[in-house]
């Protein structure tokens, strides 16, 4: 097993080109690669497609201006958002109304499962969630199926060019451990992108994360970035 390259947040952000599709782990930016986000803002990377549970927060837990990917939206760097909830970032609705931002909403479990399906090599997801709702018209919905008398939607797997993880501890081989509610979408996103970058609060020696307690396996991680300690 080999050590994974450690990049600065700025170096990581530079890897992401205009027009890239990027998964961001995090739930209202808890468990999000916020240091890389800040560098993307500085770079002004354009026309991004974001895949995330939500669009972060306009105000952070201690009053910070912008918290997580909300800043990319406010800075008009995003052309499309695939998310489950954007109510904490009114700017999303605003830009959508203005016609400059495409928004695809999916149920939270469906988004997680479609990402997992991609990472796990499955052809799609058969879920009862969304039947008889607007989700039937989603670009990710392939149609309705009846199985044993119950209706299901067949949803398509979701893949990205990059997945940016927001982890707590990451060892030198890329094994990650998430504190509290940081885990959320990070573990599935780590399997569903061409390039996976794990931002962490602490780079720790191999062995500090017990083999039984690894949350994201080093084999899924391509690069490590040390972010801010909170």
């Amino acid at each position: 097993m080999a050590k994974k390259p450690v990049l600065t947040a700025a170096e990581a952000a530079k890897m992401i080109p205009d027009g890239a599709t990027v998964m961001f782990g995090g739930f209202l930016a808890c468990g999000q690669a916020r240091a890389i986000v800040k560098e993307l803002v500085k770079l002004g990377t354009k026309d991004l497609t974001l895949i995330a549970n939500d669009c972060g927060r306009a105000v952070g837990p201690k009053g910070e201006e912008f918290f997580g990917i909300a800043e990319l939206i406010h800075n008009h760097q995003v052309k499309r958002v695939i998310a489950t909830h954007v109510g904490m970032t009114p700017e999303v609705g605003q830009q959508n109304t203005e016609g400059t931002l495409e928004v695809n909403l999916l149920p939270q479990g469906t988004l997680a499962e479609c990402i997992r399906a991609d990472g796990a090599g499955l052809g799609g997801v058969l879920t009862p969630v969304g039947v008889d709702t607007m989700i039937e018209d989603s670009p990710f919905c392939r149609g309705k199926r009846t199985i044993d008398g119950k209706e299901y939607l067949e949803m398509a797997p979701i893949h990205a060019d990059f997945a940016l993880l927001g982890t707590y501890k990451c060892d030198e081989f890329g094994n990650c451990w998430y504190k509290g509610t940081m885990r959320n979408f990070n573990t599935v996103m780590a399997t569903a992108a061409d390039t996976v970058i794990a931002e962490c609060e602490y780079i720790v020696p191999v062995g500090e994360i017990e083999p039984e307690n690894v949350h994201t396996y080093g084999m899924c991680v391509d690069y490590i970035v040390e972010g801010e300690k909170m």
Binding site: C30, T84, P107, A112, G130, V131, D132, G180, T181, R183
Partner: protein, 222 residues
């Protein structure tokens, strides 16, 4: 009934639906008041969409478990894990929800109809919030209970057929309001309990769907 008492009254009645050890998900607002009215000996496992199996209280700054950057609730506020709870990733967590491992979810409605269809996530043309985990919960929880004020500004919210975009179809099993308890059956809405402050006719007038009155109609206050 005073306006201020209504929510507490509904939450109190909702609490009677629960038994010790139930895994429940509580929507925002009124449903979060339910735990305050649990009978003695009834402890719940509060399931949180964000990834807490058995969520605890919301700690304030200065509390030992206050950790607003690592442990939050679905509103972004500081949260905690209860004694004996665990943290979980979103795919596994919603697997538990869809898989029928959550006993009940309590949530409000913009509209609910006699077929148990529920609309509570969007009003077209107004701001765009997103469904979050609501669709998953309505479909996945074994028991989906709507708890809300019976009407909105005097207009019925309980309808023959929802007009707003649905959150889920055929999901609501029971509706608990300050006026009555309605069960959703194959033959439509059946009123099983009534708040003695109201008459059956008053309930019917406030409801835009036919109501069958159960033979053994009970009082909500017992």
């Amino acid at each position: 009934m005073e306006k201020s008492e209504i929510k507490a009254f509904i939450a109190k009645r909702c609490a009677k639906e629960l038994k010790n050890g139930d895994v429940v998900n509580l929507g925002i607002g009124l449903p979060t008041m339910i735990p305050a009215y649990l009978p003695e000996g009834v402890e719940l496992i509060i399931h949180a969409e964000l990834g807490i199996v058995s969520a605890g209280t919301s700690p304030k700054e200065g509390d030992p478990n206050y950790d607003p950057y690592h442990v939050v609730d679905a509103g972004g506020s500081p949260s905690s894990v209860a004694y004996g709870g665990g943290f979980i990733d979103s795919a596994s967590n919603f697997g538990l929800i869809r898989g029928g491992h959550v006993d009940a979810c309590f949530l409000g409605a913009l509209e609910v109809d006699q077929e148990g269809n529920l609309a509570n996530w969007i009003i077209p043309g107004k701001k765009m919030p997103g469904m979050g985990g609501a669709m998953d919960l309505c479909v996945g929880a074994r028991n989906c209970i709507v708890c809300m004020e019976h009407t909105a500004k005097g207009n019925p919210k309980i309808l023959e057929k929802c007009r707003l975009p649905l959150t889920a179809s055929h999901c609501v099993k029971k509706i608990i309001t300050e006026m009555c308890v309605l069960e959703v059956t194959e033959n439509g809405l059946v009123m099983t309990e009534i708040n003695p402050e109201f008459t059956v006719d008053q309930v019917k007038a406030a409801t835009a769907a036919p109501i069958t009155v159960a033979e053994n109609l009970k009082s909500m206050i017992d």
